[in-house]
């Protein structure tokens, strides 16, 4: 690994000032499960590594904020998210997604903000957070701003964070139309620590709005809504749902160059996982889970 300067700011102001001052020379270190691999293979060559784990505002933890918003601290690990009773009760799809990221050892380090800021198209927490309407809380030189997660991803490795901005927390607003029942599904080549070949979440509420979000089939995770009520209706037939799914999955554009799975397989599995996640979300909505 190439030498670098290590900084461990104690305050948000110091962290933001350092990131703003050093710009592209600096890289943020949270759980390190991606960054340290990149530092070792030379694909990231920062002069300064800024460890944000001791900034109090980014501390791990899940709490209920104003108006019933669930607030997840930036450095909360996948292990903590997957085990948290509020997440398991209200954001079942997110709990399922966090539970399948990497292995135990990876989940004990990998953070939610890191998963989002890497902006991998295959990020497993992204689809569930998208169907729950998650908002990224960022802090930068010009203060704090909130970015809808759907406006956060640009392409692999690129987000709409401005230079010097840092993710402080991820907020999941209390849904306006009653609770959203969600479910996550994915395919990998093998269990344990593979990246998703397809990752997908479905969210339903009592109003009949269905949200489907999917990743690893294009440059960024995609969120699509079904306002026709066809998907949400437990009584609708597969024949009725098929064209709705086709519209929803029209934005999938899997690369033919990916090592993990071919485009035909990914597109086929997208439809299978869509049906499975929908069925689980419907059952959860009906059961009040």
């Amino acid at each position: 690994m190439r030498p670098f300067t290590y900084a461990r700011p104690d305050t948000l102001a110091d962290a933001v000032a350092l990131l703003a001052e050093r710009g592209a020379e600096a890289r943020v270190l949270a759980g390190g499960t991606d960054l340290i691999i990149r530092l070792r293979d030379g694909s990231a060559r920062p002069a300064v590594v800024v460890d944000v784990k001791r900034v109090p505002e980014l501390a791990p933890g899940i709490r209920v904020g104003d108006r019933g918003t669930l607030v997840i601290g930036a450095t909360t690990t996948m292990t903590e998210i997957a085990a948290h009773p509020l997440v398991r009760r209200d954001l079942a799809g997110l709990a399922e997604a966090a539970a399948v990221v990497g292995s135990v050892q990876i989940r004990n380090r990998a953070t939610l903000a890191g998963n989002l800021c890497n902006a991998s198209p295959a990020a497993d927490t992204a689809p569930s957070l998208l169907v729950h309407g998650a908002v990224v809380v960022a802090h930068g030189p010009s203060g704090e701003r909130r970015i809808a997660l759907d406006d956060f991803f640009v392409r692999s490795g690129v987000t709409t964070l401005a230079p010097g901005e840092l993710v402080v927390a991820i907020e999941i607003p209390a849904p306006e139309a009653g609770r959203i029942a969600s479910a996550h599904q994915r395919r990998t080549r093998r269990r344990g620590h593979d990246l998703a070949s397809v990752t997908l979440a479905c969210g339903l509420d009592a109003s009949g709005l269905a949200r489907i979000a999917y990743g690893s089939v294009g440059p960024r995770p995609v969120l699509r809504l079904d306002t026709t009520g066809v998907l949400a209706d437990a009584a609708s037939s597969d024949e009725a749902r098929a064209p709705v799914f086709e519209t929803i999955f029209a934005d999938a554009s899997p690369s033919a160059r990916s090592m993990r799975a071919g485009p035909e397989y990914r597109l086929a599995m997208l439809r299978v996982l869509g049906r499975r996640a929908l069925a689980t979300a419907q059952a959860r909505l009906a059961a009040g889970e």
Binding site: M1, R2, P3, F4, T5, Y6, R8, L29, G32, T33, I36, I37, L39, R40, A47, V49, D51, K53, T79, E80, A83, G102, S103, V104, Q105, I106, N108, R109, R191, G192, H193
Partner: protein, 187 residues
């Protein structure tokens, strides 16, 4: 110019250590090369094989993906800390031997640390819990069934020796609590 070294202190297997580390050195490198604890193995270096698994504040981690400076103030348990100071093996170690879980042995330190963490969280793990808990540890000799049997044996027998040297695995996510047990042992 990058920093050359930074002073850190950490508790390793119950002993408080104050050392100067290079910022770009991982916890694995410092354990093996600075502290000469060569039980933790360097293998894939991308967090897939688990040969470098150690416990940091009770959480199992791949030591190749943690900078040593990140472990400043932490309580680290390596495979060298599993057995009693008098050399008596921990139940999970004895069970690995009983069940023939060790062939070439290279992955075993990491397997033991993951098994140790698993048993701390699930004292009587189901087959599914064992498979999930051990999914981050690969064995080229494919001793998986013997390793799973060893975990079953350790779970069925006496409670695993989680007291160890104080840096035992967390229970139920009590990460902060894991540190306190070792505080008194470093003097």
């Amino acid at each position: 110019m990058p920093q050359t070294t930074l002073p850190i202190q950490l508790t390793v297997n119950g002993t408080r250590r104050r050392i100067a580390v290079a910022p770009h050195h991982t916890l694995l490198e410092v354990l093996r090369e600075d502290l000469r604890l060569t039980g933790s193995k360097e293998c894939c270096l991308v967090g897939e094989c688990g040969a470098c698994t150690v416990l940091v504040d009770g959480w199992s981690v791949d030591a190749c993906l943690v900078l040593a400076v990140e472990a400043d103030g932490a309580d680290v348990l390596t495979v060298e800390g599993l057995a009693s100071p008098d050399g008596r093996l921990a139940p999970i170690q004895a069970a690995f031997l009983d069940q023939g879980g060790v062939q070439c042995g290279f992955c075993i330190p990491g397997q033991l640390m993951s098994a140790h963490a698993l048993l701390a969280e699930h004292p009587h793990p189901t087959r599914a819990e064992i498979e999930e808990g051990m999914a981050g540890n690969l064995c080229r000799c494919a001793c998986y069934e013997q390793i799973f049997a060893a975990i079953g044996q350790a779970a069925a027998g006496d409670a695993p020796d989680l007291g160890g040297l104080g840096a035992g695995a967390h229970a139920g996510g009590a990460r902060a609590g894991a540190k306190t047990s070792a505080e008194g042992l470093d003097q």
